[in-house]
Symmetry: C2
Subunit: 454 residues, 2 copies
């Protein structure tokens, strides 16, 4: 192009960025002063509570968030049908350690999600404690058959950023690995940095080749106690475990979607989302009521300010992230069959802590373009934009080719509450929740205004 | 220099940075696995409690932190005498709002630090509410004389990073500005984002030209209530206020210092510190027990690993940051009179939250040199190193010319607890505390190993 044109474009780009900075300031002020995010989270956590797929809470949350999106001023609010699994833990889960001279001590356990149950009257077995799969393999069938395997792998404190990934494999694969060697049940140490009395649940999985065995988590305090008992008692320690979950046929449920229709490119879609379902032990406040109410807040703030994004911005409450990901799959399937054009997608599913990173998972050219916006985002604590993929719910959408992102908050406390009864509204700080919403609103505005290129 | 020499130096620099990365990993693991920081903080907060200068808690904290530094393995532990003010609030501070038909409602107030008291039986006066100094000036002497001024300025929610600086001027200067117009007392809304029932104290100041008047803070919940009452009552609302503080003669107190002597350049000093004194309403957990125990942890971790820093690393517990800064002044005076060579100094006094920034306050050349280390610090959440000055305690040392820094943690919750009864051990997360210590240890190691240049 000619020089004059290039200068003109650069100047108009500059002007545009001045405008963007002002718009981001307005979005930030609107959210930090008038946010409905915490009030909406109160509805999801206190009025409704836990929202495991297929249950009553999840159904109530579908209706409630649709209403919130309407109140937020979304141009369109609709639901997207999806069949989801329906697993329920029964009441009165029990764990009791039996040691020297038939002494008994209750330990705090819960079933892992999707686990099979024990016989009606429970089961009892001698405990073998291992630290990891290497130690389990070393014991072999002979020493494991008929026993209860206790995997006491602590979430490693020295891992600052990936301790969860390192430790969660024992929760995911423990039942298969222990079952393969003939164990009658498995108890894993909860995946959390906290030394607390809450068992932390989460999905586990089985393998067709291996008979499913009941799979429990125990609290870290109980894991420490049990470990000490096993090491110091004269006689082997036994565990008595009881749980009666039920698996029902799949249930019709919904993703909930609210849109602001793009003023210039309505067919180009930007997705911002969280997941509506939550584990049954807590209130699903950090995980992931917060991602839902932040996404709703993006819509509300833009509408409150009368902003008209050029591209369509879609807040999506995904159903069934925790134990199936059926909502995310349905969303991507629908987009594909409708031949929708998805340009950008981001989710918030790592807790309502202040944002620190937004990962960039586009082409190198896209990543470079979006990274240039970083100075505009820094006032809202988005400090870095490293290359990186999306979270679980945006994952399936990748096959449609959008640029994808994940909002990474400052997360040292997240696993203190993760999948446990402690994940309640009270442990969410309203300003941190709002800063996350601000960061999401800012990146949605910029991607909508400028696109992300190719 | 010759090319061969340059290549050699570059290669040795590379090797050195590989070594540094390993040493930082070791420091991180040592602190995140074996930290004494939280245990030490428990002593400062639970065994001792509040530590206002001149009081019993401060004296106990001097002895306790000296013992901690010895146990941490410091080569030398000593105290540095300093005369500090000694102000104590009396028991039974009282605030009562009196409104229509002599109804009464207690409001939660506390004296601001260093405030004068009320008459023994308290004082009563009609309230005039203003939002800021402009509104106060507009009222003028006629409408203010004999009244109690209520400054209801909320900490602005839309300010992400400097809301405290914006709001604290009413706490600092409210008594002078109201007193100048003839007010008999002043009540300021607590400087906090939280809507809570705690009055948040903090130092206020007087002016020789203006008669000192009693100065109170009320909780934000009470500020909201009182504001509503003032707006809706038919008759003027009055306040009854009572407080009997005592100001004693200055007291001999101490900074507490522990050193690892430099193995190569023992006369070059690196200071890492926090302040030992704390306001009297809480336990001084975030402010600033955490900065003290983090600094002690720097010493402990290096000693536990057998590291031998080239330059002297000095952990300093400054006395009297809150209401006088006498410790910081004494430390700088002593350094000056002993002609010490201070090369680098950093403090932690913004709460035990995970680090986000380390500011760089050296020459442009120094800042550039230190900023090059950022990739080594990022794993511990030191994400950026912007230019910027130190905190209050390092400030006086600037006249000796060291490069200075401030550790800026992720701080959205800090003012929830700041100077209030809620600043207790329970609101400190041990991992976040430890990550701060890790960042301090890392920057102290690097500055000690490489110096900061000129």
């Amino acid at each position: 192009m000619g020089l004059a044109m290039a200068v003109l474009m650069a100047a108009s780009g500059l002007q545009a960025h001045v405008n963007d900075t002002l718009i981001l300031q307005n979005l930030g002020s609107e959210i930090l002063k008038n946010s409905q995010a915490y009030a909406n989270l109160r509805v999801l956590t206190k009025d409704i509570g836990s929202r495991l797929s297929g249950g009553k809470g999840a159904a109530m949350a579908v209706a409630a968030t649709a209403a919130m999106l309407r109140k937020a001023g979304a141009d369109t609010v609709y639901t997207q049908p999806v069949m989801v699994p329906h697993w329920e833990r029964g009441p009165n889960e029990e764990g009791v350690a039996v040691f020297d001279d038939n002494q008994r001590q209750r330990i705090r356990v819960c079933l892992l999600g999707m686990s099979v149950g024990t016989p009606v009257n429970g089961l009892k077995g001698e405990v073998v404690m291992v630290r990891d799969f290497d130690e389990l393999q070393a014991l072999g069938k002979e020493k494991v058959t008929g026993k209860i395997v206790f995997i006491n792998y602590p979430m490693r404190p020295e891992l600052v950023q990936n301790g969860y990934g390192d430790a969660v494999r024992f929760r995911s694969s423990g039942p298969v690995e222990a079952g393969r060697l003939g164990a009658v049940a498995v108890v894993v140490r909860s995946v959390t940095h906290a030394l607390d009395t809450f068992p932390h649940t989460g999905t586990t999985r089985y393998d067709k080749e291996v008979t499913p065995i009941p799979a429990f988590a125990c609290s870290t305090v109980d894991a420490e106690w049990l470990s000490e008992k096993i090491k110091t008692q004269r006689q082997p320690v036994s565990l008595y475990l009881k749980a009666q979950p039920r698996s029902y046929p799949d249930v019709l449920s919904y993703n909930v979607i609210g849109e602001i229709r793009g003023s210039v490119y309505p067919d180009e879609i930007i997705t911002v989302g969280g997941h509506l379902d939550s584990w049954d032990l807590g209130e699903g406040a950090h995980d992931d009521g917060s991602g839902c109410v932040q996404s709703i807040e993006v819509i509300r703030a833009m509408k409150a300010l009368g902003l008209k994004p050029k591209r369509t911005i879609r807040a999506v409450m995904f159903m069934n992230e925790e134990n199936g990901l059926k909502g995310a799959l349905a969303y991507a399937d629908s987009a594909e069959s409708r031949k929708e054009k998805h340009v950008y997608a981001i989710e918030s599913d790592l807790g309502a802590f202040s944002p620190v990173y937004i990962t960039l998972g586009g082409t190198p050219t896209q990543n470079e373009r979006v990274r240039n916006w970083l100075p505009m985002l820094r006032p809202y604590w988005v400090l870095l934009m490293p290359d990186g993929g999306p979270g679980a719910d945006i994952g399936p959408l990748r096959r449609l080719g959008p640029m994808v992102s994940n909002m990474i908050p400052y997360s040292q406390r997240y696993f203190d509450y993760h999948h446990a009864a402690s994940d309640k509204l009270e442990v969410v700080n309203n300003r941190e929740l709002e800063l996350g919403a601000t960061a999401l609103a800012a990146i949605c505005w910029l991607t909508s205004e400028w696109g992300v290129g190719d």
